[in-house]
């Protein structure tokens, strides 16, 4: 049964920085290809969550990270072969580490060709007064689960309830979706425990609702903080917005793909 469509697909090369919309993506058990590959670790960070993010420096959400080889990091070259020749599927081959090189543009217009350039960290340390380092892993750096889903209807309804424009990008989801059922703006909340098929291949199980933190209070274009958004979410929606998913069957996802309930 079709329940919705993929409005847009997003990945975040650097945890906490601005995301990029992509036309399609390979989604593995470990999440979207190229999603949250880099993170900035703070020496004085919480041991359980050592990442330097907009929680520590609001403008961090304005930093723009881009893969130098962006196209190469959308689909593994041998993806079709792993589908057809090795049912139920051999893990596709990811590009070499060099392909994951990412450049960063700061809100003030300074560009670093490589986030691992020591000058980037040195300048960020100088700006924030923190001792920082870059952490990288091709498996992705997630707080909770590898895939996050949030609906356009939830963003619109929250905006209506608050009397403000609520930009979907505040919620930093991987898949923004449009539900066919327009009667329940928070329809994703009803899907916990259910399995969805997205596009031709990807299957995910919705594991839990997404408990939110102060990150959603930051405007993705200005980094201005609106604490009342999180306050409202806590008092009217149990603090949750969107859902987390775990991948059961890997595959390609395209913008506009149908979402069906299994």
């Amino acid at each position: 049964m079709q329940i919705g469509t993929i409005d847009s697909v997003w990945r975040y090369p650097v945890k906490g920085m601005r995301g990029e919309e992509v036309p399609h993506i390979y989604t593995a058990y470990t999440g979207l290809m190229g999603d949250r590959i880099y993170g900035v670790v703070a020496a004085d960070g919480d041991p359980g969550h050592p990442w330097h993010t907009g929680r520590n420096q609001e403008e961090f959400v304005l930093y723009k990270a881009s893969y130098v080889s962006s196209e190469e990091l959308l689909l593994p070259k041998n993806l079709d072969a792993t589908y057809s020749e090795w049912e139920p599927g051999i893990d596709p081959l990811y590009p070499d580490a060099d392909a994951f090189k990412v450049n960063v543009e700061t809100p003030t217009g300074v560009t670093y060709d490589d986030i691992e350039d020591p000058a980037f960290i040195a300048d960020l340390e100088k700006l924030t007064g923190r001792s920082l380092r870059i952490h990288t892993t091709q498996r992705g750096i997630f707080d909770a689960r590898p895939v996050s889903i949030f609906s356009l209807s939830a963003a619109a309804k929250l905006g209506e309830e608050l009397g403000m424009n609520v930009d979907k990008r505040r919620f930093r989801a991987n898949f923004y979706v449009e539900w066919d059922d327009q009667d329940d703006p928070f329809y994703e909340n009803t899907l916990v425990g259910k399995t969805l098929k997205i596009g031709e291949w990807l299957e995910v199980v919705i594991v839990e609702r997404d408990p939110r933190c102060t990150m959603i209070t930051l405007d993705p274009d200005t980094a201005e903080e609106t604490p009342r958004l999180l306050r409202h979410l806590a008092r009217k929606h149990a603090g949750d917005a969107g859902v987390f998913a775990a991948v059961l069957q890997r595959g390609r996802v395209n913008k506009g793909d149908r979402i069906t309930l299994k």
């Binding site: 420096q57 102060t214 306050r231 806590a234």
Partner: protein, 95 residues
């Protein structure tokens, strides 16, 4: 003995006088008084109870959800804040 016996709390444009017991956080006191104060993790991580300490002094066990800019603006985490002086406290959630 608590430094203060009550504090002023502003939420949704309304002022409340909230009694507070020794050892309680401002959030615990507000909830005990029946106020629909916002909160989630109660561990200083999520920032849901971020509020403006317009007057008074508090000590916080954790400030993880506060940025340097937040601290400059006088924001505190109600779930982590306990009175630390006898200066009257005014906590404003309407930020």
């Amino acid at each position: 003995m608590s430094f203060v016996e009550s504090f002023r709390l502003t939420l949704d444009g309304e002022d409340h006088a909230v009694p507070i017991a020794d050892g309680e956080t401002l959030l615990q006191a507000a909830l005990a008084a029946g106020i629909d104060a916002p909160y989630s993790c109660t561990e200083g991580r999520c920032g849901t109870c971020k509020s403006w300490l317009r007057n008074g002094e508090v000590s916080m066990a954790s400030t993880r959800a506060l940025s340097p800019r937040n601290k400059e603006r006088g924001y505190v985490l109600a779930c982590q804040s306990r009175p630390s002086s006898s200066t009257p406290i005014w906590l404003d959630f309407d930020i």
